[in-house]
Symmetry: C2
């Protein structure tokens, strides 16, 4: 089944916490959109399962977070690819939208 | 293994044909960046295998193409999710960058 989502017209931002939209959740792919207000973050975490994920910045800028204090600039068009089992996180410096893709879904 | 790619600093555009960058090609995910000059397209095609793909526009605008002549506007932040076995394609109206994610890889 084919479907199109206009991410910029879906979830907005919230002062309370980042917002999350599930775009796809199937046998093959989980695709999520997270929107962060400046200063908000998805803290470093990991899951002890097989598989990989990508985090792609589509608006704004911030930082990708990794293990041992790793901090990488995260600007529009930057994509992080990681094992699901590796520690990863995101911190927003400006209002920031990212798309996270997970395969296989947890 | 964690890696970061700055898509906007990688492949440019070509007058001859769209350009393609392989960002990831593992057991779990294939992630590709396609850059189209205005007017270029990835013609409608499909593969008779299980799995799904997403096409996310990160720069410029154009159209997602589907079966039976389906044409959907494709602007920044728009994402198309499709079975790999369904006909799909992309046509650029302006210079346009997209990220295609395929799971499982063909």
């Amino acid at each position: 089944m084919m479907k199109k989502i206009e991410i910029l017209k879906e979830k907005g931002f919230s002062d309370k916490s980042f917002t999350k939209l599930t775009i796809q959740d199937s046998l093959y792919l989980r695709i999520l959109n997270f929107n962060f207000k400046a200063g908000q973050e998805l803290p470093i975490h990991s899951h002890d399962v097989e598989g990989e994920l990508s985090i792609l910045v589509i608006e704004g800028s911030g930082e990708f977070l990794g293990k041992d204090g790793l901090v990488l600039p995260a600007n529009i068009g930057d994509i992080l690819v990681s094992d699901i089992s590796e520690p990863h996180g995101i911190r927003a410096k400006t209002d920031m939208r990212v798309v996270v893709t997970i395969a296989p879904p947890l």
